[in-house]
């Protein structure tokens, strides 16, 4: 998935790095210092629908068949995450205990058209 450039109107991944210092949360989040908050943005013209998209599945196959047999597209196709990964966090809870946990699906790695 391309990362978003100003001239890229198509579906892409927009990268943002969030430093916990910016949130004023460095006092209770010990590690990491920040994380990638990416999200998907851009247009999905009909010929990109379902490629590769998280809907690249049975639904997408059926959707393509319908599309092929219907001259007009059904509904709109959106730019959505197709791959995510977890974020490992080390933080202090209210009692001052150190907690280490993996938060699933926190970082968007790839985008596609549904």
């Amino acid at each position: 998935t391309p990362t978003c450039e100003p001239e890229t109107p198509l579906c892409c991944r927009r990268d943002h790095y969030v430093d916990f210092q910016e949130l004023g949360w460095r006092d209770w989040i010990l590690q990491p210092e920040g994380y990638q908050l990416n999200y998907c943005q851009g247009q999905c013209p009909p010929h990109l629908a379902g490629s590769p998209g998280i809907a690249a599945s049975f639904h997408s196959a059926v959707f393509s068949l319908l599309k092929a047999n219907t001259p007009w597209p059904l509904g709109t196709s959106c730019c959505v995450p197709t791959a995510r990964r977890s974020l490992s966090l080390l933080y202090l809870d209210r009692n001052g205990n150190v907690v280490k946990t993996d938060v699933p699906d926190m970082v968007v790695e790839a985008c596609g058209c549904s």
Binding site: V18, L37, R94, N95
Partner: protein, 221 residues
């Protein structure tokens, strides 16, 4: 909301950079709190000393990743000597404040103690769980017995089943020690044997995993 019509992923017009940055920071807060099942950022009542924190973090194996949707917790103890007519000379009470457990399953617990150089010889250490009950002295549940014969850090395994329960999240462990060999010299108070402050503060290392749905019910085979 407020960014104009439509959603950014379906081709709406770009937002101004400042507005987008503010949105991203707000989204990050929501995402982190939701991921940690918190409604707001924790207001830390008592921050552990930096030295204790760094030592404990070294115990959390960087390579050991907690199981999916699981946690590893390090909880620092406050230690007070046990007094009273029936209290053994070598006895101490450790108090931990654990988060009230969500639907999690504690499957491993270790108590880390630092024994100082004043250890006169091998000692026998008994750990019981103390809970306030109807009786004035409270009730004691034996948890573990260990032999300690060298100074330094010791990781003492505790039965995770003995630590579950108590919605209050307050866990009290009473430690009692005596010489391992009956004819050896008597022991100084446990407070002088055990590190209780700074980077020698005792702490619990807990490994928790999310409960499977409907866990706890007997599985028919």
């Amino acid at each position: 909301q407020g960014t104009g019509a439509g959603c950014p992923s379906c081709g709406s017009p770009m937002v101004a950079t400042q507005v987008e940055r503010a949105l991203v920071l707000e989204l990050a807060k929501q995402q982190i709190l939701e991921g940690l099942h918190l409604t707001s950022r924790p207001q830390i009542i008592q921050r552990p000393p930096r030295a204790a924190l760094s030592r404990a973090l070294r115990r959390l194996q960087p390579a050991s990743v907690s199981p999916a949707s699981g946690e590893e917790v390090v909880s620092f103890a406050t230690a007070v000597p046990v007094t009273g007519p029936s209290a053994a000379a070598c006895s101490s009470m450790l108090t931990f404040h654990l988060a009230t457990p969500r639907a999690h399953h504690l499957y491993r617990a270790r108590l880390w103690l630092h024994v100082g150089p004043a250890l006169p010889g091998p000692l026998y250490l008994r750990i019981v769980r103390w809970s306030s009950g109807r009786r004035r002295q409270g009730s004691r549940t034996p948890l573990a017995e260990h032999h300690i014969d060298t100074p330094g850090w010791h990781a003492l395994a505790l039965p995770s089943s003995g630590l579950r329960g108590k919605a209050s999240g307050v866990l009290k462990l009473q430690l009692t020690c005596r010489p391992l060999h009956r004819n050896s010299t008597s022991l100084p108070p446990l407070q002088r044997l055990l590190g209780t402050a700074g980077d020698q503060r005792p702490f619990l290392e807990l490994k928790i995993r999310a409960k499977e749905p409907r866990e706890g019910r007997a599985k028919r085979r």
